[in-house]
């Protein structure tokens, strides 16, 4: 469900599967543990392999956004599939969370401090 990698002060999390009540808890724990353990400021969520997300899954994304924002960090997303984009869009999350086309672009923008929605 979750592959993690760090690039400098950026944590890259590749998610897989369907993000709902069943998987949300595990994902929240996995992300928070990584954010606790590494000295990272920013988080890239690669959602390319996430085929479904509901409001419970969205809660995990927004929760991480708030946690990072509190410490001056940023959350960005990439690889949005139509049903996931739909939910991020409807909820207004795409107005506060920047979206990138590639991991490279996301990481570079975060490093230059240029990632904004």
């Amino acid at each position: 469900m979750l592959d993690l990698e760090t690039v400098g002060e950026v944590l890259v999390a590749k998610l897989r599967g369907e993000l709902d009540l069943k998987t949300a808890g595990e994902l929240r724990q996995g992300l928070d543990r990584a954010l606790d353990g590494f000295t990272v400021r920013h988080l890239v969520l690669d959602l390319e392999n996430v085929s479904f997300m509901d409001s419970t899954g969205l809660g995990v994304v927004l929760g991480r956004y708030k946690r990072l924002a509190g410490a001056g960090g940023k959350l960005v997303v990439l690889g949005l599939q139509p049903p996931v984009r739909r939910v991020l869009d409807l909820s207004g999350v795409l107005r506060i969370v920047p979206e990138f086309n590639t991991l490279k672009q996301a990481v570079e923008a975060l490093r230059r401090g240029e990632a904004s929605a």
């Binding site: 009540l21 069943k22 479904f52 409001s55 809660g59 049903p83």
Partner: protein
């Protein structure tokens, strides 16, 4: 009425996807667009999650019932729990209202965005029944 089913299962987190899959399998019989199918899966996910989390307080001991009825160009979905119930339904349906600080309060908003109509019958101690309808776009 073209077809229908009634599905009963315990209030466990893994059954949110079970319900999605079964409703999607029925809806597929009308040859919907991918977007219509995604909308239906999203709405079912929200309603069933609410039954589990709010209706039964995340206990797996409750029972959720999902019924779906297919008409020529529409689907009606009923999601019912015999759980806690809702005191103030209009308030519960307001965007971003949640009784749980950990949650977003967007469940009912999503159901309303995804479906053509959403109706909620509920009373404290008497459980909750969500009735949703979606019309499919004409095609072929």
């Amino acid at each position: 009425m073209l077809n229908r089913f009634r599905l009963e299962f315990p209030s466990r987190a893994e059954n949110v996807s079970l319900a999605r899959v079964t409703v999607a399998a029925l809806a597929s019989q009308l040859d919907p667009t991918i977007e219509e199918l995604d909308d239906i899966k999203g709405a079912v996910s929200e309603a069933v999650t609410n039954g589990i989390i709010h209706g039964f307080g995340a206990s797996p001991e409750g029972t959720i019932v999902v019924e779906a009825v297919l008409y020529g160009d529409a689907i009606e979905i009923y999601v019912e729990d015999g759980g806690k119930g809702i005191k103030d339904v209009p308030k519960a349906m307001e965007p971003e209202f949640s009784s749980d600080p950990e949650r977003l309060g967007l469940g009912f908003s999503f159901m309303q965005s995804f479906m053509d109509s959403v109706q909620v019958d509920s009373a404290p101690g008497r459980g909750t029944r969500v009735i949703m309808r979606k019309q499919f776009a004409p095609r072929h």
